[in-house]
């Protein structure tokens, strides 16, 4: 091992990148490595819908090209999945069978679309959109298909539905309360959303659940509990996000729904921090944990985790609240940045 510190960051989203920048700014000689299981460099996830529509190019998605990492002497390991961590030996194990040692580790692995128990039986038939490679793989199919069913309710679903409508697709959405994310909607708010969607020509079904999804030829036959029986070219699911922590389970790092960290973003190991969508953060006043969500929180936390890892003692707070517009609703939230 070279004698310089080796800071390893897992995840190349906003949390990971801000952490890396902060580390580099204060320690020009340290070895810094970012590991990402995606093969695309740091990009704006919220522009994926524009990318699918053909309104944004790959360059427009990119926050920072690969060359910047080289310039900053940050080793960016793309397309490499961390399979497990040994926080006692301070080693991460990569899926392609390579070990990497660290002196300090920041976990910033974000979140993935969640599969609610009610849909788990037919999750194979459901499409999700959360990464660039999802988008890339789905573009031909989305362009070709005409009728879409969106199991929705999370905030990304509304953006996706808008995209489909802009592309002239026939859209049916099944909204149900478990699917609302990252905030639950009161009955009157849900009503407003339904109206707004209907006005756009979307068929909205509510208070119902999927009973079965069957593939028949190229299409999918859907049956709901209330007796709807219809065929769609594709079915999408937007039921909220869940932190990416599977690879940590059993490592000794405490987890619940996310990675448990104190209000300095430190885990139960002194040299392991977590930031962004994967972190579940302790609030001493409330004596409970909150899950971090959204682009801005990830940026703030990435920066703060790196500062604390370098010796600061800063306390994390959620991003300032802003008004977010969703289908005619005005929501005051710190969870989501309206881009």
């Amino acid at each position: 091992m070279p004698k310089n510190d080796h800071y390893v960051i897992i995840g190349n989203g906003p949390a990971g990148n801000l952490a890396a920048d902060t580390l580099r700014d204060s320690d020009p000689d340290a070895r810094i490595t970012i590991v990402s299981n995606e093969s695309m460099t740091y990009y704006y996830r919220h522009k994926l819908t524009e990318f699918i529509k053909g309104k944004a190019r790959e360059e427009d998605l990119t926050v920072r090209p690969y060359s910047v990492y080289k310039d900053k002497n940050i080793r960016l390991r793309l397309g490499q999945q961390v399979d497990k961590i040994d926080p006692n030996k301070k080693i991460i194990y990569l899926k392609h069978m390579e070990t990497v040692s660290y002196t300090k580790l920041i976990i910033a692995t974000g979140a993935s679309p969640r599969a609610l128990p009610s849909v788990s039986n037919f999750s194979k038939c459901l499409n999700v959109l959360s990464t660039y490679s999802d988008a890339l793989a789905q573009i031909p199919m989305i362009n070709k298909n005409k009728t879409f069913l969106v199991l929705g309710g999370d905030i990304i679903s509304f953006k996706f539905i808008r995209m489909l409508k802009d592309m002239g697709k026939e859209v049916t959405t099944l909204l149900y309360s478990e699917a609302f994310w990252p905030f639950s909607l009161e009955a009157d708010m849900a009503q407003q959303v339904k109206k707004s969607l209907s006005d756009k020509g979307v068929t909205v079904i509510s208070d119902d659940h999927i009973k079965s999804v069957k593939k028949s030829g190229e299409a999918f036959d859907i049956v709901t509990e209330k007796g709807l029986n219809q065929s769609f070219d594709s079915v999408y699911s937007f039921l909220g996000m869940i932190p990416n922590i599977r690879f940590i389970l059993g490592s000794g790092i405490d987890t619940d729904r996310g990675i448990l960290v104190d209000d300095h973003l430190k885990t139960n190991f002194d040299d392991v921090y977590a930031a962004g969508d994967c972190a579940q953060i302790y609030n001493p006043d409330m004596k409970s944990y909150w899950l971090s969500i959204g682009w801005n929180n990830a940026k703030i936390q990435g920066t703060l985790a790196a500062q604390n890892l370098l010796g600061a003692h800063k306390v994390i707070n959620p991003a300032p609240q802003k008004i977010l517009e969703v289908e005619g609703l005005k929501i005051n939230t710190s969870w989501w940045e309206s881009f």
Partner: protein, 586 residues
């Protein structure tokens, strides 16, 4: 029909079947009607460990170079293969073992060095090999199976080719290879989503089963055999040893004599002896051995004894870089040795030409009773090309000795001054044909004489042969822009393929650029060169040496500014580098 043109590199450790996998792939692609050029590299020292790379370019159209960058890298050994990543193109495909038996240490796994745009296909090479044959030896064939599945190659056709290749081996060897291939093929077909765009024709139209797949050394050996070589004496040296290996087997079968001598001086001594006795004889060596032979080269010229020396150049000086490519023995080939010593230097530009050059060398040596140096190089010696079997040489090339007529034997003058410089030659033992032979200057009967007149006349006679030879050497190869243009690229030896390729690419881009190369460098077709150069504003001479040996040779002949591209990278000349230089000059 797909117009595919791709470079595949297989990289592994010696003993992992890297080179044989490359050979199997090249052979198969050639049988399927593709043009191939391969170039393997392996450790400098005795084979058995270290990094090996089998590099093959496979194309629908004729290839002139092996290509500088690769489209596909098959990593049989991670840590060796990492150093091949810089030559993998931006959108290049990597096939690697994603389930090795144990974890790689940090930075020792190739998958850890992927860059954006590269397309990795992780295949459990080790696991699949064990599944197929009970051990990991067949990883190379598993990798070929994965390659075949990914790139649209027919499983059946490939298996038939493997069976043909291993035809004489034990059944279990054939089965293990085929099973490993099939395992890799099926696993990849069922588990990997293809995201690159390379595809071969699934049913190629012009299947060719009878092509030769040989390297330059083999082409030289075959050419020499076809030209009636009688004796080969040599001492092993990289990169020429293969010529010796082949002839040690093949020459005795044809009634010839093969000798491994104690050193290079002895080799050339034997060649001179056989030449003196009227037999076609040849030796092969590389720079260091050639240095040792230089004393005898003068004797060949002076005593007018036919001799052919193959010099496969490597990096120098001294023992230098045994397994690296260079073109830096031109000066010693042209001028090495004492005195005014005209010698013929033939530098083939391709594997095909190596065959013709060997025939020509033995012919000229015999007919003109002189020294012929066949100058090849590490790249030509090792680059493998598929070619149609060459037709047997024209009979006039086979029996070229000009013997004295009955009348001439009445008063026989072995070194008779003649118009074309050739004196009728008797074979020792010919009644009435006795003569003195010596390295000293001599009169027409071979008696040592040092007077001014004799030395002048004899020197002129020896040089006159070159005027005659010039009349029967192949025409220089001229390609590219045909009118008045900007840059004329003049090249020699194995760099000529890269030069020609660069000129084709430049012309496609609308540049007015032409290419000139001559297989025979001494005597040199200067008139043809002058005519060529008069059409261009600037002349560019690309060559793999530092001092610009060929550029120095032609600069006084041409009336144009001569620009140089000199490199000593140890690698073959790349068309990309010449093209870049052309653009800079432009």
């Amino acid at each position: 029909m797909s117009d595919i043109d791709i470079v595949v590199e297989i990289c592994g450790s010696a003993g992992e079947g890297t080179i044989s996998a490359g050979e199997i792939l090249s052979r198969f692609m050639s049988e399927e009607g593709y043009d191939i050029m391969s170039f393997d590299s392996y450790p400098a020292e005795i084979r058995g460990f270290g990094k090996c790379v089998a590099h093959s370019r496979i194309s629908r159209t004729r290839v002139l170079t092996p290509g500088k960058y690769s489209d596909v890298l098959i990593a049989l050994n991670d840590s060796h293969s990492i150093s091949q990543l810089p030559v993998l193109k931006e959108q290049g495909v990597l096939i690697y073992d994603n389930k090795p038996p144990k974890y790689h240490d940090e930075d020792k796994s190739i998958a850890g060095w992927l860059e954006p745009g590269m397309i990795p296909y992780g295949i459990p090479l080790n696991e699949l090999a064990i599944k197929a044959a009970g051990n990991a030896r067949g990883r190379n064939m598993v990798a070929l199976g994965a390659f075949a599945a990914l790139f649209g190659i027919s499983q059946d056709a490939f298996i038939q080719s493997v069976k043909r290749r291993y035809g004489k081996k034990k059944q279990v060897v054939i089965d293990n290879n085929v099973d490993s291939f099939v395992e890799g093929f099926n696993w990849t077909r069922d588990n990997v989503r293809k995201i690159d765009f390379h595809l071969f024709d699934s049913s190629p139209s012009d299947v060719k089963r009878d092509q030769l797949i040989i390297n330059g050394n083999e082409a030289v050996a075959r050419g020499a055999l076809a030209a009636g070589l009688h004796l080969y004496a040599g001492y092993p040296i990289t990169p020429a040893t293969k010529i010796m290996e082949i002839l040690s087997k093949e020459l005795p079968k044809k009634g010839g004599v093969f000798l491994q001598t104690e050193d290079e001086i002895s080799s050339i001594g034997h060649v001179m002896g056989a030449g003196f006795a009227g037999k076609r004889a040849m030796t092969g060596t590389s720079g260091p051995g050639f240095c040792l032979m230089s004393e005898f080269t003068g004797l060949s010229v002076m005593a007018e004894v036919p001799a052919v020396i193959v010099n496969s150049q490597r990096g120098g000086p001294s023992t230098g870089l045994p397994t690296k490519h260079e073109q830096s023995d031109l000066n010693i080939a042209l001028f090495g040795g004492s005195g005014d010593s005209p010698r013929v230097v033939i530098a083939p530009t391709s594997v095909d030409q190596c065959y013709q050059a060997a025939v020509l060398a033995l012919y000229i040596a015999e007919k003109y009773q002189t020294l012929v140096i066949l100058l090849i190089d590490f790249f030509l010696s090792n680059s493998i090309k598929n070619l149609d079997p060459p037709p047997p040489p024209d009979p006039r090339y086979l029996n070229a000795n000009i013997a004295p007529g009955k009348d001439e034997l009445k008063d026989y003058k072995r070194y008779q001054i003649t118009e074309n410089g050739i004196s009728p030659r008797t074979i020792p033992g010919t009644p009435g044909g006795m003569f003195f032979s010596t390295g000293l200057e001599h009169d027409e009967r071979g008696k040592p004489v040092y007077d001014t007149k004799t030395h002048t006349l004899m020197t002129e006679k020896r040089f006159r042969k070159h005027r005659e030879i010039l009349k029967e050497i192949p025409e220089p190869r001229i390609t590219g822009w045909e009118g008045q243009g900007d840059i004329g690229v003049v090249s020699w030896g194995s760099s000529a393929g890269a030069a020609e390729e660069a000129v084709i690419l430049a012309c496609e881009k609308g540049l007015k650029v032409g290419s000139f190369s001559s297989m025979v460098l001494s005597p040199f077709p200067a008139n043809a060169l002058v005519r060529f150069c008069d059409r261009f504003k600037t002349i560019l001479v690309p060559e793999m040496n530092y001092s610009g040996q060929f550029a120095n040779m032609i600069a006084p002949i041409v009336t144009r500014p001569v620009m140089r591209l000199n490199m000593v990278t140890g690698l073959p000349m790349a068309s990309e580098d010449i093209l870049k230089k052309i653009k800079e000059i432009k």
